[in-house]
Symmetry: C2
Subunit: 339 residues, 2 copies
DNA sequence: CTGAAAGCGCTTACAG
DNA sequence: CTGAAAGCGCTTACAG
C-alpha cells in the first residue's frame, strides 16, 4: 500500500519508507546507503531501487545528530561586497562541493566583535570554518580553533592552520618596477589596522625599500574601499610621493579615478598600484598595475585543508606553502614626469 | 560539580547542562529560551544566567528535527562569478540575518539539470529557497514550490511567488534615448535562451521599437560573459546596427573592449548599452550606459517574501510589485557619426 | 549479513 | 508554571 509516487506534495521519504518498500529494517537501509559493500549485493540493489523510487534524499539534520557530522562548512568574510572575495567564494564553493560539503557564507562587516558573534552562532551548524579575513583578536580565534577545525586565510596564528600569500614575493617585484621607472618616494596607502596582510605589506616595504634607495611612508586609509582611496588623494598630493601602493585594488581605483577627475596625470604625476587584481582592475583608464593573488585557488586549498582537518587525524596541521603573488604591470605606473 | 568554565575545548553545552545548573527540567529550559514570558520571571532569570555561564548556543540541527524548522534559507544562482549577483547576495544575506536565518548559496552553473539536482539536494536542509536565476523547465519548479516555499527572482511561473523587474519600464527610456541620439537600427545581443529576463527584454524591444520607427534584430550571444560579448563584435559589424543593447553589462563590456581594441569608435561608430549596472560598468572608457536594477533591494525583498511564506499562512502568495529599473546614461551611447 | 534498541539534542502535547 | 515522556530521522554498537 505504498502507492505510486504522485504529483502532489508529499513529505519527503525517510529511511523507514524505504525500508518498508524494500522489506528490510531501517538499519539495513542506513548501512546500504552509507557503506556500500557491507551488505549483500541483492539487498543493496533492492534498497537502492526503493530509494530511487521514493526519491529518497537523506535528511542532513537527522544524520548530523547522532554522528555530529553536519557536512557543512562556513566561509567567514570581512565584507562580502568587496570584489576581492569573489575568487575566494568561488574557490571555496568548488572545493566544498567537490568534497561533498555545503558551504555557508558569513560576514563580519570588518568588525572583530561581529566576527566572534558569528563564529559562536554558526559553530553548531558547521564542521569547520574558513576564516578568510579575520579581524578579531588572537586569543578567541585560537580558542575556537581548539574546539573546531579552522583554517585561516591571510593571517597567521600559532597552532592554527593557515594559508597565506608570499607577501615579500609580491612586494619586491612591484618595488623593483617602480624603482626602474625612477621613483624614489613611495607612499603606502594602508588598509585596516587589524588586517594581517596590511601589516605584512608594510613590513615588506620597510624591509625592501632601503636597499633600493627608496623612501617609503604610510598614508593611513580610512576604509579599504573606493571611497577610502578617493579621500586619500589630498594627503597624497601634499606628500612627496610620486608613486602610491594601495592596500587593495578598490582603494587604488578610487584614488586613480579621483586623480583623473582632478586632472592629475596618472602615471605622469602619480603612479598608482594596487593588490588583488579584482574584476574591474583592467577596466580603468589607465588600466591598473596590480599584484595578483590566486584567490580562487587559495579558497579551494583552504577548504581542502579544512576537510583534511575534519576528516583526518586531528593531531597535526596540514602543511601549506604560501601562495605565489604575481605582478601585473599595466598602465597606471610609469616614469614620473620631470619638472 | 559542574565546575568553572575552563579554557580547554569542551563539547558545547546542551540544554541538559543548562537544566542541571539551573536546577530545572530540560523542558523548562527549552521553554524559557524559546517563548519568553511563558515561564516565571525568576525561573527564566536563573535559566538565562546558567545559559550565559555555559555559553550555551542552541544546536540548530537538533532543533530542526522535531520542529522541521531549519532556520536556513538557500539562494540559488546560475553563476556566482557574475558580478551582477553580488547585490543579490548582499541583499539576501542582510534579509536573512535580519529575520534570524542563515543563508546558503547554491550555484546551478547556468544548467537547468544542475539546478534541479541542487534543489533536490538542499531541500531537506532549508526552510525555503530564493531561486534567483532559474534556468530549468517550469514543471519541476512548480512541483517544488508546492512542497516547499520558493520565491523566484527574474522569472514568473503561475502559482509561484516571484519578484521581477518592470522590464518595459527600463527598456523604454533606453530606446527613447537611442532614438533621440538618432539611431534607427538597434541590435539586441541576447543572453541565455532559458532566461526569462532575456525573453522579456526582447519582447519589450519588439513591442516598443516600431512606434519609434526603429528596427530591431537579435544577435544571439554565445554566453552572458565578457568573452561572449567580445565574440559578438564580428556579427555586429556585419549588421546594419549603429547601436547594440546587450543582455547584460558583462557582455556589453566585452563588446566595448573588443571594439576599442579594433579601433572601432564607441559611441561614434557603435553605441553600446547594457543592463544591471554592475561594479565595473562605470570604470570602462567610455563609461557604460546601462539600465540599473536595485538588485540588493530585490534580494532583500525576495527573502522577506520567502520568510512570510514560511512563517505565514501558506495559502496565499505575498503581493509583490515589480522593481523599478533606471536608465543611467554614460558615455558609451551617443549620436552615430555621419558617413 | 541483518535486526532490535538506544541515543544524538531538541520540542511539545499531556498531565499535574 | 513545570516536569516526564514521546518523538523528530538518522546511526551504530550489540547480538544473532
Amino acid at each position: 500500500m505504498t502507492g505510486p509516487v504522485s504529483d502532489e506534495p508529499q513529505p519527503p521519504a525517510t529511511i523507514y519508507d524505504v525500508a518498508r518498500l524494500a522489506r528490510v529494517s531501517p538499519s539495513t537501509v542506513s548501512r546500504a546507503l552509507n557503506k556500500p559493500g557491507r551488505i549483500s549485493a541483492q539487498t543493496e540493489r533492492k534498497i537502492r531501487a526503493a530509494a530511487e523510487r521514493l526519491e529518497f534524499e537523506i535528511n542532513p539534520m537527522a544524520r548530523a545528530l547522532p554522528t555530529g557530522r553536519r557536512m557543512t562548512l562556513a566561509l567567514m568574510l570581512a565584507d562580502i561586497t568587496n570584489p576581492v572575495v569573489f575568487g575566494l567564494i568561488r574557490g571555496a564553493e568548488r572545493g566544498a562541493a567537490a568534497a561533498g560539503y555545503t558551504l555557508i557564507i558569513a560576514e563580519s562587516q570588518e568588525s572583530g566583535e561581529a566576527e566572534l558573534r558569528m563564529l559562536r552562532k554558526i559553530q553548531a551548524s558547521v564542521d569547520g570554518i574558513v576564516l578568510a579575513t579575520a579581524r578579531g583578536p588572537a586569543e578567541p580565534i585560537r580558542q575556537f580553533a581548539r574546539a573546531k577545525p579552522i583554517v585561516l586565510v591571510n593571517r597567521v596564528e600559532p597552532a592554527v592552520a593557515s594559508i597565506i600569500p608570499d607577501v615579500p614575493g609580491g612586494v619586491a617585484p612591484l618595488l623593483d618596477h617602480l624603482r626602474a621607472c625612477g621613483h624614489a618616494n613611495v607612499a603606502y596607502l594602508s588598509g585596516p589596522a587589524a588586517s594581517w596582510v596590511n601589516s605584512e605589506r608594510w613590513a615588506a616595504l620597510v624591509r625592501l625599500a632601503p636597499p633600493l634607495r627608496m623612501s617609503v611612508f604610510e598614508i593611513p586609509g580610512r576604509a579599504p574601499t573606493m571611497a577610502g582611496g578617493a579621500e586619500a588623494l589630498e594627503r597624497v598630493m601634499l606628500s612627496p610621493a610620486t608613486a602610491v601602493i594601495a592596500f587593495n585594488d578598490l582603494m587604488a581605483i578610487g584614488l586613480l579615478r579621483q586623480a583623473r577627475q582632478e586632472k592629475i596625470a596618472v602615471p605622469g604625476r602619480l603612479s598608482i598600484a594596487g593588490f588583488d587584481n579584482i574584476f574591474g582592475a583592467e577596466l580603468t583608464t589607465p588600466a591598473l598595475t596590480t599584484v595578483a593573488a590566486p584567490l580562487e585557488d587559495a579558497g579551494a586549498r583552504a577548504v581542502e585543508a579544512l576537510v583534511a582537518l575534519i576528516e583526518g587525524s586531528p593531531a597535526r596541521l596540514p602543511e601549506m606553502s604560501p601562495f605565489e603573488l604575481r605582478l601585473i604591470v599595466r598602465d597606471s605606473t610609469g616614469p614620473p614626469a620631470v619638472g
